[in-house]
């Protein structure tokens, strides 16, 4: 019984990376929230713009890494 349960809980390797990506995003948001409100709102809220650019950058890099992994899997075959 426990064996079946264990097997069901196993994530596919791709899923693992997705979960890791989401966890990174959530922790980044937490870090932003913990860093004092004044840091983000100082200087006419320019740091909000930097945070937005950073997130877009991270998202596109994540997408590229996924494609890269897929292609290297194909090469290994």
């Amino acid at each position: 019984m426990s064996k079946i349960f264990k097997n069901k809980l196993k994530f596919a390797p791709e899923m693992k990376y997705n979960i890791a990506f989401i966890m990174i995003l959530v922790s980044a948001q937490n870090m932003l929230a913990q860093s004092s409100q004044s840091f983000m709102t100082s200087g006419g809220k320019i740091n909000v713009v930097f945070a937005v650019i950073f997130i877009v950058f991270i998202g596109i890099i994540y997408y590229l890494i996924r494609i890269d992994r897929k292609i290297s899997k194909l090469e290994n075959k």
Binding site: L25, G43, K45, V49, I55, G59, L64, K70, K73
Partner: protein, 349 residues
């Protein structure tokens, strides 16, 4: 890798948007005034804090303006530093309005900074209403305000520097819709010609569009936290954007759930067509019909002169084009890797 002209254009435009979009300064503006409540018939000192201003380097003029167009000029201005000054006004006994309470706009003007406005922030109360007397005490003549010649982005209260998110958040959504449009074209082509390659193209474009949409939601959420004070509100624009993402997650689930490639392609292609038809009114039409907190909604189109001006357009249009090209580039990579993996699978069999 062959670097075709449009990939090069994408890189150049992205670099242009990043540099010009971040380096260009905001126009000078008024951040804060204090006090915000005054009474008539007194001399009031109003502290004005500016942003990007140079109060020390040129002569300043300040006005109070009523909603009816009547003005008074400051009798004396004490400049503290480049971003702070105190303007003294002799506020007359009566206001040029027929209400006992009026919201005044504070206007400053100088040769170097141009003119900046703090709209309807100063609340003034009068004891009795004397419209004709008030009109005599205030001046109706519009003074000449200085303009600013330097290339700069508009200063908007509450938004401040985050007006630059127009390039990095709004253009993501524009690129998402462009990709969805291209994918619908490929889906329709598949339904006509039954070529599986068309369906894969549509699939890769939808996936890239979902990436852009999710990034749009996250970046919007970060902006909302430091503008509205919360990661998410029940605003119609936000909820409809999340809903349209869910519709496209449905597309992914349908594809994952059907084994037979032809059936999968046919069902998901028709789903894709209907999804876009459903999503366009959700994001573009509904938020304009009701009130929305989101800039550029609640009755006003985002391209009106209120929200967009020519200095923003100079960067915004290249940003949209570069994100669309980047989306096409990314989805092409996905598509090519899909084709390769299919080829290697069929070679094994």
């Amino acid at each position: 890798m062959q670097l075709s002209w449009w990939k090069l254009l994408c890189i150049v435009l992205l670099a242009y948007v990043l540099v010009i979009g971040l380096v260009t300064p905001l126009k000078p503006g008024i951040l804060k005034i204090s006090p915000e409540r005054i009474k008539t018939g007194q001399t009031v000192d109003i502290e004005i804090s500016g942003y990007n201003t140079h109060y020390k380097s040129s002569n300043q003029v300040a006005y109070l303006k009523a909603s009816t167009g009547y003005l008074i000029q400051a009798k004396e201005i004490k400049v503290i530093d480049d971003n702070n000054m105190v303007a003294s006004f002799d506020v007359p006994q009566f206001l040029p309005t027929s209400n006992s309470i009026e919201q005044l706009s504070v206007i400053t003007s100088s040769e170097k900074d141009g003119s900046s406005v703090m709209p309807s922030r100063l609340i003034v109360a009068q004891d009795s209403v004397q419209l004709e007397m008030g009109k005599n005490l205030w001046s109706i003549k519009e003074p000449t305000f200085f303009g600013i010649k330097k290339y700069s982005f508009p200063f908007r209260n509450i938004l401040y520097e985050t007006i630059r998110n127009t390039f990095f958040h709004v253009s993501l959504w524009f690129a998402m819709f462009a990709l969805l449009g291209i994918s619908v074209y490929h889906s329709i082509r598949y339904l006509y010609k039954s070529d599986l390659l068309d369906d894969w193209k549509a699939y890769s474009q939808v996936r890239t569009a979902i990436l852009f949409g999710v990034l749009g939601l996250i970046t919007g959420s970060i902006w909302a936290k430091y503008t509205w004070g919360t990661w998410w509100t029940n605003d119609i624009k936000l909820n409809m954007a999340a809903l349209s993402m869910l519709i496209y997650f449905g597309y992914l689930i349908i594809r994952a759930g059907i084994e037979d490639p032809d059936k999968k392609a046919r069902i998901s292609a028709s789903f894709n067509v209907f999804a876009l038809v459903a999503v366009i009114p959700l994001i573009f039409v509904l938020p304009r019909l009701t009130d929305s907190l989101h800039p550029g909604n609640g009755g006003n189109p985002a391209f009106g002169s209120e929200d967009m001006d020519n200095s923003l357009r100079m960067v915004f249009y290249p940003a949209v084009i570069s994100f669309i090209l980047l989306g096409i580039w990314l989805s092409q990579l996905v598509f090519r890797s899909d084709v390769l993996s299919h080829k290697s699978e069929s070679a094994e069999i």
